[in-house]
């Protein structure tokens, strides 16, 4: 057992709470932050110390490197866990911390730099044995240049931010006119989200599967994989349902080994030393290409934890401080059962557009075997300043059918009142034939259109029950 450290959690919501729990388990001090417009930051309830980060927009708070460094000095912070999003893949931030003698709970800055740049990372992957999707070799400065490359590699193409991630700063273009219409918007989006407006062009693979491999490494050169996840159900290039293992890879252990081993090979090549994810795109022919490597913990990490029993956040912290992970070998890591995650978002279930608002009520009534990582509470104000995701519902079953069955029951038992959520959409997906058969690709939302199967008729009984509940309360029941 190493000495007690003071860990600053530079994030909010469910992931901040998740990290705080890991810190406390390890005996470290979890230092949480709150900003001017998040006075009721629920993640603080599991933090040991609460620090006020003055300011009301992200530039002044979660993205403000000098101010965060100041906080680290003032509160004698030993290590910083960035979570996901915000500065989690910002080399300027990690290098600044390291220079100031503060441990960065993430990979070494060089790995973040190489993998954080889509063009550089593709070149690196190709050199290290993973094929890449054809496209531009670097940032495209002009619309004309983008059109030229698009015509060389043939439409459809994807226009995306060099520094992108999380589905922001990406558009599919079918022709020259699409590029002309979208180029500036994508540039602006990426400049706003990542402080970098550089774009690249690559071939868009039709009906692909999004497969990713969870990597965990320590500072002694040990690199392990924790099998794959399939995250093909996406809207606007953002995942909404993920599962592990991948139903597309299925029983093909040979393919699974090839996929996982190439991820390990890549991580080894960059001397990776933390938790990370190698994202791959797999065509209908089961050929796979390197997409990107996320040098941080990911939203969907719980499903891997559920099937392997590992605590990825705990291991990430141990690795950062040079501690032993307690994993003897790759063969020692086993997976059992099947896990599914539904991202619960404050959004319209049909249009899937964000729908901010106040949570006026929230209760759960789950079956056995459900994990719900969330930041929900009665009174929560979901603002447009942050991502609309408010929780992650994770169901684990001994086989996939059982996991789906549990998820259906869990969705029925998740009651969120006051704002629109995508729960009705998840209910449709969990009962939809293509999903049940496990035969879906990233085209699922656009071709199967589960959003159109959401029952929109007035549910009088449910309305009466809600009004009756309020009346009963008024009566003093």
């Amino acid at each position: 057992m190493s000495t007690q450290k003071r860990i600053l959690i530079m994030n909010r919501g469910e992931i901040a709470a998740r990290i705080a729990k890991a810190c406390r388990e390890l005996g470290h001090t979890a230092v949480g932050v709150w900003t001017d417009n998040e006075v009721q930051a629920k993640h603080l309830e599991v933090c040991d110390e609460w620090v006020h980060l003055k300011g009301s927009n992200n530039q002044e708070t979660y993205l403000n490197i000098p101010k965060i460094l100041e906080l680290c000095r003032e509160y004698k912070i030993d290590g910083v866990h960035p979570g996901y999003g915000f500065l989690s893949e910002n080399t300027e931030f990690s290098q600044t911390l390291v220079k100031n003698g503060i441990t960065w709970i993430g990979p070494h800055p060089e790995a973040v730099r190489v993998m954080g740049d889509k063009a550089v990372s593709k070149e690196f992957a190709q050199k290290n044995g993973i094929p890449v999707v054809p496209g531009s070799t670097g940032a495209i400065p002009t619309i004309e240049e983008a059109i030229k490359i698009a015509n060389q590699i043939k439409y459809p193409i994807l226009l995306k931010a060099v520094a992108g991630g999380g589905g922001r700063g990406m558009r599919v273009c079918q022709n020259d006119q699409d590029i002309r219409n979208n180029f500036e918007a994508v540039q602006r989006e990426s400049a706003a989200a990542f402080k970098n407006g550089d774009l690249l062009v690559e071939k868009y693979i039709v009906n692909p599967h999004h497969i990713e491999v969870q990597i965990l490494a320590d500072k002694k050169g040990n690199v392990f994989h924790f099998f794959e996840r399939e995250c093909s159900i996406q809207r606007r290039h953002q995942k909404i349902v993920e599962e592990a293992p991948s139903p597309f890879i299925g029983e093909d252990e040979n393919l699974r080994q090839r996929v996982c081993q190439s991820a390990v090979q890549l991580a080894k090549a960059i001397n990776y030393d933390s938790a990370g994810t190698v994202e791959l795109i797999m065509g209908e022919d089961k050929e796979f290409y390197f997409l990107e490597m996320n040098t941080r913990i990911q939203v969907e990490h719980p499903i891997t934890e559920e099937i392997t029993g590992i605590d990825l956040i705990v291991c990430m912290i141990q690795s950062a401080f040079g501690d032993d992970l307690g994993i003897p070998s790759q063969e020692w890591i086993k997976r059992t059962g099947h896990a599914i995650e539904c991202r619960i978002c404050a959004e319209d279930p049909i249009t899937m557009l964000p729908a901010p608002g106040f949570v006026t009520g929230c209760e759960t009534n789950f079956p056995q075997g459900i994990r719900f990582d969330n930041c929900l509470y009665k009174g929560l104000n979901v603002t447009p300043d942050f991502d609309p995701m408010v929780g992650k519902l994770v169901a684990k079953g001994i086989v996939r059918d059982v996991a789906i069955r549990k998820m259906r029951a869990a969705l029925d038992g998740l009651l969120i009142e006051g704002l629109k959520t995508n729960i009705p959409l998840h209910k449709v997906i969990m009962n939809e034939e293509t999903f049940i058969k496990g035969k879906y690709s990233t085209a699922y939302i656009t071709t199967i259109k589960p959003q159109e199967k959401v029952n929109l008729s007035m549910d009088y009984t449910s309305i009466y029950k809600k009004i009756a509940g309020v009346e009963a309360r008024r009566m003093g029941l």
Binding site: L353, E363, N365, F386, G418, I463, K465, I467, L477
Partner: protein
């Protein structure tokens, strides 16, 4: 007690609580009916029971579902429709006709205005780009017409329900 449910498209449903019967200190029976355009659409009885400091609801007194505890909600949700709830009264000022008016559907920031006052625009043409939830949303004209007024400028941070632009039918 009469409750008015009004959604963003100004559909109005009236839910009347027609009968209340307390069965015990833990259980109450309520009878409701829904009226829309002077027609009764539905009538049902529900039971509410308190159990372990939680409220449960039932239609038959046999099968029970947990309810999310709400204090005095002003919003009620039915799948993708958000109803404003008015208990015992109907608000008199529910806006006017807004055909051709572009209102914000969610809070956001104006990134770029792509039309000018007096400009002829086509249905579906992008008039404004609004950034909300870190996404750029194209706000399109709902009709063929002429831009009558622009009430916002680039960089403005807007609340929900703000009139951004008006388009007059040509």
């Amino acid at each position: 007690m009469r409750t008015y449910l009004i959604d963003s498209d100004k559909n109005e449903y009236i839910v009347d609580l027609t009968k209340t019967r307390a069965h015990s200190a833990e259980m109450v029976e309520f009878e409701f009916r829904t009226i829309k355009d002077n027609q009764e659409l539905n009538k049902e009885t529900v039971f509410i029971r308190k159990l372990a400091d939680q409220y449960f609801a039932s239609t038959d007194g046999v099968k029970w579902n947990k309810l999310a505890r709400q204090d005095s909600p002003s919003i009620l949700l039915n799948v993708d429709r958000v109803f404003k709830l008015y208990r015992g009264y109907k608000p008199s000022t529910l806006g006017g006709d807004n055909v051709g008016g572009l209102f914000t559907q969610m809070p956001g920031k104006v990134v770029k205005i792509m039309a000018q006052v007096g400009e002829k625009v086509a249905k579906g043409q992008t008039l404004l780009i609004l950034e909300a939830m870190k996404m750029e949303n194209e706000i399109k004209s709902g009709l063929d017409g002429v831009v009558k007024a622009i009430h916002v400028k680039s960089g403005d941070a807007l609340e929900n329900g703000i009139l951004m632009m008006e388009v007059e039918e040509a």
